[in-house]
Amino acid sequence: MAPRDGSQERTGTPDTVEKGMATINTLRIGVKAFVEKDGEKRKAEILSIQRKKGEPNYYVHYEEFNKRLDEWIPASRLDLSQEVEWPQPEAPTKKSQKSTAPAPKSATLPKQTAGQKHPRTSNTVATSRKNSESPELSTTTGNAAKPARSPLVGGKENRPGSDRSISVIAPEITTDTPKGEDSELDLVDIQDAAAAAKASNPQHQAPYSREEEIEKLRTGGSMTQNQTEISRVRNLGHIQLGAFEMEPWYFSPYPSTFTAAETVYICEFCLSYFDSNQTFTRHRAKCTLLHPPGNEIYRDSSVSFFEIDGRRQRRWCRNLCLLSKLFLDHKTLYYDVDPFLFYCMTTRDEHGCHLVGYFSKEKESAEGYNVACILTLPQYQRKGYGKLLIAFSYELSKREGKLGSPEKPLSDLGLLGYRAYWAETVTDVLLDHEKNSKDGKGSSEISVEEIGALSAMTTNDVLHTLQNLNMLRYSKGQHVIVLTEAVLEAKEKAKAKEKAKGLTKRRIEPARLMWKPPVFTASSRTWNW
């Protein structure tokens, strides 16, 4: 957001970015160079450099791509025939390696203040967070807004200074902004993704100060806005889990010694982690767990759901969180798992109940969230399990008699998953209602809140969905809901697809859910151990 600021800063940026040719030896952290990726050259920022067998390896982040695509590359993939961008000269590279104390503001600020509209309330500013304007971005997005950004220095980001505090800038989305999709306006901000990912300028992106954030997390919550949390170099190479091997997407605070291990082995049932095959094999000889350690609350022909109390199964839930952090960027493990319940979906065979995905849920959510974190494990993705998980979370909300919504922010995959589910659910509700009213049951009209009540979705989510699907229109002086061709077509397509696969769609059958909303006393709601 903050288009004004961005544009103002943009004017100053070109001078500050230093471009030039580089050699292998002069590359350093923070440099942006073009890297060969899938047959094309992409601009990427070097986040870390390691020598392996004498050859330097670079950990790069491709700009404007999700961090899960960050990777280690050999020097051969770097295209040094083009100019590279050097990080801000005053960016204290050495210091940032250690990522420690904020530097006194006076030393670092002068250049920035000119372009800063936001009031800076505190005196201390982490130097490494100084904006370094990046001009190249101004062209990459069609938005007028350019955020200030700085190079990420060092693999680990500095802690945000206390200056993070302030001001979400009031987004005056100007009428002349040429936006690609109108409807995205509210959901998608105009900031450069890569810039934000690196948390170059926290004032712009984080509406929370560090303290506020921690306080928020303390009282529940599992998602973080905090850039330091999400901008770390991935620490594990490979994961061996069950019958699969996969690459982790993000950093997860497994024991730091595991970084050295080529593969980290994770026991499929107890989710314990091992850095060698030997210890893992020994563990498997002893481990007797065959399913998530909780009560089964749902079972149908293909899946089971288990409910696990984070307080009672602390070890297991921690293991689960560590695992899921590998695939969830914004998840935070800052605080313990006590205030959450974990609903784990499994498939069954004679080996046991294999964890497919899970969602966590606050025992008592002040904000009415019915999901904190939600994840389908990579080996089960794109098989419809995500939607099933989401459906189950709403089924629980229906049983509780509450409306629910997932905790924000959603990841990219999460957003798509939820949107798809919402679209389908709302469409189903409308079609049902239309059918009923044609059969003479009930009125022909339905309000947004009624849709919400039928699906346990919050009114806002319903509204957003209707808008995104372009279903909310104005006709003859009043609002109507339009079952658009596109929506109906999508519905038909989905049906046809199911038929083609010969599968009946996976559904949650409410009758099979044997569950009463658990009640917790104040003390067991987990303010302490």
């Binding site: 020994r282 070890r315 949107r419 309000s447």
Partner: protein, 579 residues
């Protein structure tokens, strides 16, 4: 919103859109039912104020990923689809998961049997994951070389090795919980020995010394950190907060406001807890008692068994000493069955059983017999009840009845009895005089009665026996143990002999009616009184009598005057006027 309204103004000036109310019903229509002009208007989709703060809305997805290419592509694809465009569904590429090369079947054996009902499970990972220490490559090398030195019978297995290592680890953890912070020296073997019993059995301990050296070496290599790979938890140091590896921090305890109600509540809880603990302690004590008894019983049984063995030995040695019934004491006799008590219900039960139709008058009871039986049972029951009551009351003294009912009159000394005179053949010795008489003066029996507490009486029925004319007395005890003697019918035996004038003097000497004005009943026609009257009525008092009376009166007046001051002067004159 601005755009929407401007567009609306441009498109059709007539309509100003109303705000959407989420509570109002909305019609559901198909696209073809819409009028084209409306559709035209819809191109400018009204942005409805959803009530979310802008900032909040932006948190729906992380800003960082907002403009990522893949997400953008996917979003715009779905958006295009929603509007009606033909777009292929776009996926966000993710690193693939590939089948692993590990021997899955071996590592995860087919052990799972799905129970019929939903699983309920509460064991923790710690419960089910076995020994937390896992043998690693380095240990393996050590263990092989160690086992090479041993013969086949004394090999140390992986499991035992792990147990021992775990014992060291846990001991170290409990002895030096802050090893990560203050890096103390590796604990000594002696220290581990103290707790070893908790972890290891005898067979395992054989290897402990050797393995300790290995463990110590490894700990030293690791800087005395735990060999079990663990997560980094907060240590209280300042660096915690910045360290990305520190995770799962404790949430600080939220201060709860102190109120009286809460205090009382927790006090109540504590009380309850204490009570429950006490109860369970008692229960345990009783269990202990029971087990002691059991042990005693077992000992007795054992003795019995030994005695029997002895006896058998003896009998085998002396086969000719056979005695009938000896076998009986070699085995436990079944306790004799108690004869079944015949209850009154039995006849009722028997009757329906008679299914063969045979006339069985002989078995039938006559009504009278049955009545008699019934009677007998009732009386037996009553007897039984009485016996029971007596048994219950044994050793108790019933004090509740005594004050209300008079004690039985059989006790000596509690009733009036005639006074009899007895002449002793010889004057009794002064000491034994009390005991000699059986006429009621036996204090021994009195004491005995008193001991039985029947002698106390607060109200006695007036008992006027036939011996009214005879003098009689009784002895009773008043409050505080005072001994009272009541007399009755005590007649002055010499009354006739006493001079009547003297007797008359005492005639009305009765303490009881002190307050009453004494009335003398005199026969007016008695000659003596007539003579008296004749003398006093006509005649003047004698001179001497008059003087005496005056003197008397004046003395009284003088005394009065002394008492009353000047009023006495007046009264002193009065006598004068009187006179």
């Amino acid at each position: 919103m601005t755009r929407a309204t401007t567009a609306a103004a441009l498109g059709s000036q007539r309509i100003r859109q109303r705000k959407l109310n989420t509570r109002n019903g909305l019609g559901i229509v198909r696209e073809d039912e819409l009028e084209p002009i409306d559709d035209e208007l819809q191109r400018n989709v009204p942005r409805i104020d959803t009530g979310i703060e802008k900032a909040e809305e932006q948190q729906v997805i992380p800003i960082s990923s907002a403009l990522e290419h893949h997400l953008q592509a996917a979003l715009s694809a779905s958006q295009a689809a929603a509007i009606g465009g033909k777009v292929a569904q776009i996926y966000i590429p993710t690193p693939d998961a590939v089948p692993s090369s590990i021997d899955y079947e071996k590592l995860y054996p087919l052990k799972y049997k799905q129970p019929h009902s939903y699983i309920r499970f509460s064991s923790t990972v710690e419960d089910v994951a076995g020994c937390p220490y896992d043998l690693d490559e380095e240990d393996e090398v050590f263990l092989r070389s160690m086992n090479k030195r041993k013969n086949a019978s004394t090999q140390c297995s992986d499991v035992v090795f792990e147990e021992i290592m775990n014992c060291f680890e846990e001991t170290a953890q409990s002895q030096q919980p802050w090893a990560a912070v203050d890096s103390p020296p590796v604990i000594s073997y002696e220290t581990t020995e103290e707790t070893m019993d908790d972890y290891l059995d005898y067979a395992q301990k054989r290897f402990s010394k050797e393995i300790y050296e290995h463990w110590k070496t490894r700990r030293l290599e690791a800087g005395n950190k735990s060999l079990i790979q663990g997560l980094k938890f907060e240590t209280g140091a300042d660096t915690d907060d910045a360290d990305p590896y520190v995770c799962f921090r404790r949430r600080e305890v939220r201060q709860i406001r102190k109120t009286r109600g809460r205090d009382a509540h927790s006090a109540e809880k504590l009380k309850k807890l204490r009570k429950e603990l006490e109860e369970s302690r008692e229960l345990l004590a009783m269990i202990k008692q029971r087990e002691l008894h059991k042990r005693e019983q077992l000992e007795v049984e054992r003795q019995l068994f030994e005695q029997r063995t002895n006896l058998r030995q003896v009998k085998q040695n002396l086969p000719d000493q056979y005695k009938q019934g000896d076998e009986d004491i070699l085995i436990n006799q079944k306790p004799k069955k108690k004869p079944l008590e015949i209850t009154q219900r039995m006849p009722n039960i028997q009757i329906p059983r008679r299914t063969d139709g045979r006339p069985a008058e002989s078995d039938l009871l006559h009504l009278s017999e049955w009545h008699a039986e019934r009677e007998r049972e009732i009386s037996e029951a009553i007897e039984e009840k009485i016996r029971q009551h007596q048994k219950w009351n044994e050793g108790f003294v019933d004090l509740t009845k005594a004050p209300l009912t008079p004690p039985s009159e059989t006790g000596t000394g509690s009733t009036f009895r005639t006074a009899t005179t007895e002449y002793l053949p010889t004057p009794p010795a002064s000491v034994s005089s009390e005991h000699s008489g059986d006429g009621g003066m036996d204090f021994g029996t009195v004491n005995a009665n008193k001991a039985e507490s029947v002698a106390v009486r607060y109200a006695s029925p007036s008992y006027d026996g036939p011996c009214h004319s005879q003098p009689s007395y009784r002895r009773r005890f008043g409050r505080g143990g005072r001994l009272l003697i009541d007399r009755r019918g005590m007649r002055m035996t010499q009354k006739e002999n006493v001079d009547s004038a003297i007797a008359d003097r005492y005639k009305y000497d009765d303490d009881d009616d002190e307050n009453e004005v004494p009335r003398y009943y005199v026969d007016p026609f008695d000659t003596a009184s007539m003579v008296f009257r004749s003398r006093i009525l006509p005649g003047q008092p004698t001179q001497a009598q008059m003087q005496a009376m005056r003197a008397q009166r004046e003395a009284a007046l003088a005394a009065q005057a002394a008492n009353h001051g000047n009023s006495s002067t007046r009264s002193s004159r009065q006598p004068g006027s009187d006179g």
